[in-house]
Subunit: 160 residues, 2 copies
DNA sequence: GAGCTATACATGACATGTCACGCAAAACGA
DNA sequence: TCGTTTTGCGTGACATGTCATGTATAGCTC
């Protein structure tokens, strides 16, 4: 039995591919969003997160949890987005400690105009050469790993 | 070519799992490296990149290309690492424009002490619940996507 | 209801990443 | 050989992310 911390050959192959792909995809997505919609990936994630919520409005903590960010990061970032008119911030009625972040009409408009290009990039760049037959197995593996990370990681799990 | 830019159901499932997993893994790795070795993931990548090269020494451009970073980012980052004694910088003999980054003994020592913990985290967190039988298919898919991204992306491909 | 603790954020200092620009060495062309 | 272009980096200004800490509100205990 090997208590060795090192990865075996099969794991190394997966890990190397994972790291490389992750780096490239992040770069390409950021680049495209910036060029086409003047949004960073972080901006997009916030807008998408808010639009996915019932009222287009979420407390900072809920948003942080949903995105897997630290709260102070959300706080800073959302504040900057507010100066650009993409979101608005207001104290909640029921609990005065809570700051609710709201998607503005402008923010929603920007998101709607950015979404098709973003989706197209993902579809072409990530899925462009991936046979549909491989999708279920890939999703299974990724979901399995994700579940394990949630269970054993240090960050609190998201709502779902 | 499909007309709609939107992802189909199978693609959406993969993409959601991908995004979530990527966020969590980045967070956990950064956290562990910081706590155990006072290194950021970026620091670790630079050290690992240098140690993988023949002489533990690379020009900034080569390092940038290898890591998939922009050159100025490497320039800034390496400069900071130099003040911590992890690497050293010097003009190349043959081409005076080129700055070569060298792994110092201290840097190598830090890398060697950090590597087992890092590998263990990856092994436990990412591969802990992933059956060995799924590895080849997963690697195949990731490598396939990676190759397609390299071919169709905007960033120049790495040496290999 | 008077403290005590916990929660939800905001903030400032600082580390890091990006972008536009500039410089100097090398390569090239007339 | 002299001027032009290309290449490889460094730099400053600024955007972004993290950490430690501060503040106000809510909940809890007696």
């Amino acid at each position: 039995m090997t208590d060795s911390p090192w990865l075996d050959a099969g794991q190394q192959r997966v890990w190397l591919a994972w790291i490389r792909l992750q780096l490239r995809m992040t770069y390409e997505i950021n680049r495209q969003l910036q060029a086409d919609s003047a949004l960073s990936m972080a901006d997009y994630d916030v807008l998408a997160g808010l639009s996915a919520s019932a009222a287009g409005r979420l407390p900072i903590s809920a948003l942080a949890n949903h995105l897997g960010w630290e709260r102070s990061r959300v706080s800073h970032h959302v504040k900057r987005m507010a100066t650009r008119g993409l979101v608005a911030m207001a104290a909640a009625e029921t609990d005065r400690r809570v700051t609710e972040v709201t998607l503005t009409d402008h923010g929603l408009g920007v998101l709607r105009s950015a979404a098709p290009g973003h989706a197209a990039l993902v579809k072409n760049l990530f899925f462009g050469d991936l046979p549909g037959a491989e999708l279920p197995a890939l999703a299974d593996s990724l979901e399995r790993v994700y579940a394990h990370v949630l269970k054993n990681g240090t960050l609190p799990p998201p709502p779902g």
